[in-house]
């Protein structure tokens, strides 16, 4: 019911919205919850387990009941709290966890089965038969229990992540936070003030207090106006600071566009902030706790603070005939606010025997509410007094069990709160988070005056730490009502008294957990699921542990709390992962020839982050094998062009470059002549092979190293580590130049002919023998030429600055085609290198040594190098080690499969008989057979032997001959010719 003359809403602007298909009107400034209550809609959801009808319990982000789904399709958002969802024209919200409708929910039958669904029911009821859990019980439970769901479609909304830095982060913009921000801002500090609400002011917007003789919200607006006018202040509304992390880092979620259906171009729905603050002030306020009594979960029963918030902030009375129950003076404040607004107060039930009386309303002292009735909403309550029980008709019960300071963030770095008996609540331990001060209600100081004072003090402490001078500040005049509370957690009696509304946990469940010896609060939590729903038990955890403490005969302090973990309130994974979805998760790197390759319809394969052409299909070719075979033959018979730019290229310079390379490579590089290149092998310190590649000496103090494509980043880190950490005495430096140079392989018998037509010089065997390198001029562009080969053919790699890459690729392609050659892709490259027995990371996969790959002699005996000592361990050279061999099919089956295992011909193919495995396979058009590389026990000593390849996954068995891994041109005549 809307109340005339109350609320901070704009009544000139009517906002139409839809809930469960029914159209309603609210006002600008309403939340979905306040607008529904204004329309007398009390039923907003069904509970998680028992499908009990539920209404709104709170007016804030801690709401356990009123969860709705907003949006459709890819933009569907489940579990939006109606108390936080602002209404806008066109908002369509749907209730959750009900079928077929909210009013008539068939799963409500769960409520009748409640005796079987108590604490630990998952562990007890569904034990037998064992196989039924996965197939029968779990699917049924998952369908029956739950909250909202996702659409299953890709999210169409944008999310963003951002960083912010400040001197002081103030968390919460109630009286304490506003005051802290004001003092720090006036001192000149760089301040961020963040509040989860759309409008700042905290409880000043929800109560009728005055500050400095003005209504609280007016005072708040004046402070905000001053802050807004200062360049050193950032105000972040709709921003929940969700976590406190190391070194002053805070996570915050800004709900940028949830209050509108407009999606301005590029604007995110939510922004995930990482705020780095030199100091912070936590002014997060407090959360009111309900009282557990029989059937305290009926729509219409809510916290007293929520009733005042709906009344004072939104001009809504949740009932026409209100009853109020609790154990602090807040209930009288609630009664006064309602009466002043013209709402009838049927009774005030104060559990304290010394409660104040009133002339304006009926006060039942020392009384407790012990039950409620009403089908889909509250119709009456039962009050128990010494004189007996009495039924009172009411459509709204405002209840309070006291307030819990929002200590959450102070516990995110392992801090535990302490129990403060006089206010019956946990308060933060000082310095629980380095650099964080706490102020106001989150500190257990509940009066407005205390909030303002503590806000000032916290800012002064922070300014002092920052070396800044605090201005002299007068404390504004405000109420300083003492907080008097008599502990009241659960009203004794039969039936179910709810603690955790969202996860359907009752007082009985907690007692049962204690009876069954789940006495630790962490055990009780997991056994009953108390506090494990999306609200993380914000309303209920303290009451639940108080019940547990009582049941186990311990004090609350001794029982302790469960662990508070981030985030403070639920956060979409999409926001946490902002920027890392799609290509952001794995950036794409393209070569300068990428467009040309795509234009020729080459399918791309991923190599690390790079995309490389797999093969180049030509007209008439229907399978990749046809293309691959043609490309291999082309390289063997004419000339082929392949972009090899993705291989890592590291420029190494300095007087000690040679000495350094001697230390990171197993073989010698200081003795390499200028103008020559050499194959190098790199080990990890544990003696296993790390990477390989060709390193060329361009000058006395200048080398350029190539690494494998996937290993480039690791090798760069490794070089820097070895230099900085182990050999800082060496004068050498490194720069990655992978993207600065476009490099192309020109391979095949006609490669020299092609290049001679292109370079400003003539190549011959004398000036450019195998493994020569040096500067060249390519059509007037300064480039580099390396006579190296990964195909076993007479071949070169030619490099030009990347900006000439696309152009050179085009020229090389055309000239190759004239010579009967053309482009080749990764498939052909793989076959060419397998024919030659050249290794890749398929072979140097981290578990093989130089000895295993037949390069044991490349570990120089003349010097130390990384990995040398450990590579000489006995076990790494012992007989029986699996070592590199070539394999050729010789039986009926001609199929070789990478990953298949090797067995003796006559052996049963079981694990205990395993002799090795295949790492690379390909069909060689040159030798007209499948070829394989693999590792076989004592392999090189077994050439000529027949072994059995078995692929258990694909069911293939092939007999193979063990051969030298260099299948083609074993004496290397072609590469030199």
């Amino acid at each position: 019911m809307r109340v005339a003359g109350k609320g901070l809403i704009d009544r000139t602007e009517t906002v139409p919205f839809v809930f469960d298909g029914v159209s309603y009107n609210g006002f600008r400034g309403d939340t979905l919850a306040s607008a529904l209550l204004a329309n007398d809609v009390r039923l907003m959801g069904r509970s998680f387990k028992y499908h009990r009808p539920r209404g709104v319990l709170t007016a804030g982000s801690e709401e356990p009941n009123a969860l709705v789904t907003v949006g459709e399709g890819g933009a569907q958002e489940p579990n939006m709290r109606a108390t936080m969802q602002e209404i806008y024209p066109g908002l369509a919200a749907r209730s959750q966890n009900r079928w077929p409708s909210l009013g008539f929910d068939l799963m409500g039958i769960n409520d009748l089965g409640a005796p079987f669904l108590g604490a630990g029911f998952y562990y007890k009821t569904f034990m037998w038969p064992k196989a039924f859990w996965e197939k029968v019980y779990e699917p049924i439970i998952r369908r029956a229990a739950g909250l909202g769901g996702l659409s299953g479609q890709d999210n169409t909304d944008k999310y963003e992540s951002a960083y912010a830095f400040c001197d002081l982060l103030v968390i919460g913009a109630g009286p304490a936070g506003l005051m802290a921000a004001l003092v720090a801002a006036r001192a000149g500090a760089d301040v961020i003030l963040a509040d989860e609400n759309a409008r700042m002011g905290g409880r000043l917007l929800a109560e009728t207090y005055e500050v400095d003789g003005k209504p609280g919200h007016v005072w708040a607006d004046e402070v905000l106006a001053e802050l807004r006018g200062m360049d050193n202040v950032r105000l972040m509304t709709r921003t929940t600071v969700a976590g406190a992390y190391d070194q002053g880092t805070y996570a915050a979620l800004e709900r940028v566009l949830h209050h509108t259906d407009r999606r301005p171009n590029g604007a995110p729905l939510e922004t995930y902030w990482r705020i780095v603050a030199k100091r912070s002030v936590l002014a997060a306020g407090a959360l009111e706790r309900p009282v557990a009594f029989r059937d305290n979960d009926r729509p219409g029963i809510m916290t007293a603070g929520a009733v005042r918030t709906y009344l004072n902030r939104w001009g809504v009375s949740p009932g026409r005939n209100v009853t109020i129950f609790g154990n602090t003076d807040d209930i009288h404040r609630t009664a006064r606010d309602l009466l002043e607004a013209g709402v009838h107060v049927a009774a005030v039930i104060d559990s304290r025997h010394d409660a104040p009386l009133s002339d304006d309303y009926q006060v039942l002292r020392g009384a407790q509410v012990c039950g409620s009735a009403g089908r889909k909403g509250l119709e009456s309550i039962t009050v128990r007094r010494a004189s007996g029980e009495e039924k009172i008709h009411t459509d709204c019960l405002a209840m309070t069990g006291g307030w819990n300071p929002s200590v959450h963030l102070t516990c995110h770095m392992n801090g535990r709160p302490t129990w403060q008996r006089d206010i019956a609540a946990f308060v933060p331990r000082p310095d629980a988070v380095p650099g964080m001060e706490t102020a106001g209600a989150c500190n257990g100081s509940f009066s407005t005056d205390a909030c303002l004072r503590e806000g000032i003090a916290a800012a002064e402490a922070a300014l002092d730490d920052l070396g800044m001078k605090a201005p002299k500040t007068t404390v504004p005049q405000a109420e300083d009502t003492p907080y008097e509370i008599a502990q009241l957690w659960a009203v004794p009696g039969k039936g179910r008294a709810w603690l955790d509304f969202q996860n359907d946990v009752t007082v009985k469940d907690v007692k049962q957990a204690a009876t069954e010896n789940f006495r630790s609060v962490e055990h009780m939590k997991r056994y009953t699921t108390q506090g494990m729903a999306t609200d993380q038990g914000k309303n209920s955890n303290v009451a639940a542990l108080a019940v547990l403490a009582d049941a186990t005969g311990r004090g609350i302090s001794e029982t302790g709390t469960t662990t508070f973990r981030p985030p403070y309130s639920p956060m979409a994974i999409a926001a946490l992962g902002a920027g890392a979805e799609g290509a952001g998760f794995k950036p794409q790197r393209f070569t300068t020839s990428h467009k040309a390759a795509v234009a020729r319809n080459a399918p791309m394969v991923e190599a690390g982050l790079w995309y490389r052409p797999s093969y180049f299909p030509q007209a008439g070719e229907t399978t990749w094998r046809q293309s691959c075979d043609r490309e291999v033959n082309m390289v063997r018979q004419a000339v082929g062009i392949c972009d090899v730019s993705p291989l890592g290229k590291i420029d190494i310079q300095g007087p000690d470059a040679g000495a350094f390379l001697d230390f990171v490579y197993t073989n010698m590089f200081s003795t390499l002549k200028v103008g020559r290149a050499r194959y190098g092998l790199m080990l990890r310190e544990d003696g296993f092979v790390m990477d390989d590649g060709t390193t060329a000496r361009l000058g006395e103090t200048h080398y350029v190293m190539t690494t494998t494509t996937a290993g480039a980043g690791d090798v760069m880190k490794h070089l820097e580590f070895v230099h900085q950490g182990l050999r800082p005495d060496l004068d050498v430096s490194f720069t990655s130049v992978t993207e600065q140079w476009a490099q192309f392989a020109v391979a095949g018998p006609k490669s020299r002919e092609l290049l001679n037509d292109l370079l400003d010089m003539q190549l011959d065997d004398e000036s450019w023998p195998f493994m020569a390198c040096g500067p060249v001029s390519v059509l007037g562009v300064a480039g580099r030429l390396f006579r190296i080969s990964f195909s076993g053919e007479h071949a070169y790699e030619i490099a030009v600055p990347a900006r000439y890459g696309a152009s050179l690729y085009d020229i090389l392609t055309k000239r190759a085609e004239v010579l009967g050659g053309g482009l080749y892709g990764m498939e052909a490259l793989g076959v060419l290198r397998i024919e030659k027995g050249f290794i890749t990371h398929s072979e140097i996969h981290g578990r093989t040594t130089a000895y295993d790959i037949g390069m044991g002699r490349m570990v120089s005996q003349k010097k130390d190098c990384i990995g040398k000592t450990m590579s000489q361990r006995e076990g790494l050279e012992e007989p029986g080690r699996e070592r590199l061999v070539g394999l050729k099919p010789i039986g009926e089956s001609k199929q070789l499969l990478a990953g298949a295992h090797l067995y003796k011909e006559e052996a049963e193919p079981v694990r205990t008989n395993d002799q090795g495995y295949l790492t690379s396979v390909g069909y060689s058009p040159t030798l007209e057979t499948m070829l394989g590389l693999g590792f076989l026990a004592d392999g090189p000593d077994r050439y000529g032997e027949v072994v059995k390849m078995v692929d258990h996954l694909r069911g293939v068995t092939t007999l193979c001959e063990v051969v030298n891994p260099v299948f083609f041109d074993p004496d290397g005549g072609r590469v030199r010719g």
Partner: protein
């Protein structure tokens, strides 16, 4: 988490690559024996308290840094260039 790079100042930990214990800097002589090498390559302490570890400012200046950090409180007590440790 924020790490102070001696070159670049305090930066977010996402700019850094983590390697492990700073033991990696104490490379034994080639002939130091199996035990010394085993310790160096494989054996690591897992302290509840102060530890020295190697971070690489990969998204920054490329410096390897020895960070002294308390694994219990997460306090970072200092950072030093790795190149100065064995200088």
């Amino acid at each position: 988490m924020r790490i102070t790079c001696p070159h670049c100042g305090e930066r977010d930990r996402r700019e850094f690559y983590y390697r492990g214990a700073a033991v990696d800097l104490d490379r034994p002589a080639p002939d130091a024996g199996a035990e010394a090498w085993d310790n160096f390559v494989y054996l690591r302490e897992n302290p509840a308290g102060v530890t020295r570890e190697l971070w690489y400012h990969e998204g920054g200046c490329g410096a390897w840094i020895v960070v002294t950090r308390n694994t219990v409180t997460h306090e970072i007590q200092g950072s030093q260039l790795a190149s100065e440790v064995n200088a």
